[in-house]
Symmetry: D2
Subunit: 138 residues, 4 copies
Amino acid sequence: MPSFIGHRCTYRVIYGDTDKMGVVYHANYFRWFEIGRSEMFRDLGLTYKQIEAKGIFLPVSEAFCKFVSPVQYDDFIIIETIIDSADRAGVKFDYIVFDETGETTIAKGYTRHACVNENGRVTRPPAFLKDALAKKGQ
Amino acid sequence: MPSFIGHRCTYRVIYGDTDKMGVVYHANYFRWFEIGRSEMFRDLGLTYKQIEAKGIFLPVSEAFCKFVSPVQYDDFIIIETIIDSADRAGVKFDYIVFDETGETTIAKGYTRHACVNENGRVTRPPAFLKDALAKKGQ
Amino acid sequence: MPSFIGHRCTYRVIYGDTDKMGVVYHANYFRWFEIGRSEMFRDLGLTYKQIEAKGIFLPVSEAFCKFVSPVQYDDFIIIETIIDSADRAGVKFDYIVFDETGETTIAKGYTRHACVNENGRVTRPPAFLKDALAKKGQ
Amino acid sequence: MPSFIGHRCTYRVIYGDTDKMGVVYHANYFRWFEIGRSEMFRDLGLTYKQIEAKGIFLPVSEAFCKFVSPVQYDDFIIIETIIDSADRAGVKFDYIVFDETGETTIAKGYTRHACVNENGRVTRPPAFLKDALAKKGQ
């Protein structure tokens, strides 16, 4: 039995997301990953906006996506976000994008984030951030 | 005989600009208008980056585009930018987008810009900006 | 007393929508207009996807937006879409974007759409489309 | 001594590419990778548009980017594209993004592409494609 379930949120594909192949342009999946982690933070009671207000920024240092099956215009998708790790090296999130049934995987990926302070210096994730992320990881 | 000719620059359409109708998604034309006015500023010897470094910002207050004929993937387009006016109300630019021959119009539009200082206050366009724009308008 | 109320839907601003001025990049408002009309069509019981399945396409022929006040990262906005007209010349929608209170206007605009058949020919809006739009306009 | 040098092309960063952190939004780097491989194909004498006209499509099946140092508004960047492999499994390209000096690496990544025919079926890269790619790989 899994001791951990990721956070889920949804998105409706618009025309502006698609390309001439008739499916969503691959770069736009990374926008979905952003939606996923933003909504997960909100659900944890600490929005990313609040994190920035405390002087902590989480710029993306690595991004990866494997495109499993194409997504069409007007499709309703489910973005699952999972906290992979939050250690001295930064924070990593995994993502699984499902179709509207929540059962067929359409993409998988991850993003790594550095933890940076107001002076642009790389820093360890502060306690308030690790505590919020630990809520979900239990 | 025209006493004035606008500034011209070019752009190559990528897959990411298109949508499932097989043509460029309409919102992306406004990115072209930005390319047009940026390159015109550079050509005048005053980049928009330099304008911001002097504490002046030109946020878009109105944008309009008439889409005359569709643009396909890999098309090479010409963006013509014309200084319409620079008065106390702000700055206005007109744009004509041509196909690669420079003879067929594919879109026409304009953007209006407020002139804002570092404190976010609307201000009159300063002399250095009006002088630069006047070079082209002669 | 207004005999007509537009359709309302919502959107949460992501990082990818903003630009270095710290607010939403102007071209992205036209994506919101698309969300507005798509969700209005869905609410009328006729999705834009279904319209295309019947061989009718509504490419944007004109787009306009007046940017009244800036929108920040993580803002929750309300997009109101109003059917302006649907006659032989095509279809026109008006949009008002409100902040989360639904009372402060942050942008206003419109889009005009040609009505095109599967052969790419401009055609009059068919009865099924006019009927659906008339539901809202009563 | 390197027996192989990748193809290089350039791009000027616009406002619409940046986000509120004042740097280019990470998802937009994948647009640069597309520009890189498109211009490399053009340079090989076989544009991607021509590949599609022959009934072959190369949808992205995996995309990765490591963001080494941030890119600012108006920066002029160099995109280097290297053909990594073209075998029965598809095609893979590597990318290095440099600053305008061509010496400082600002990002590195790759994209994998399936090779698909007009019926949407995965197929081996045809001879005309392998021949074109081999020109560069010699």
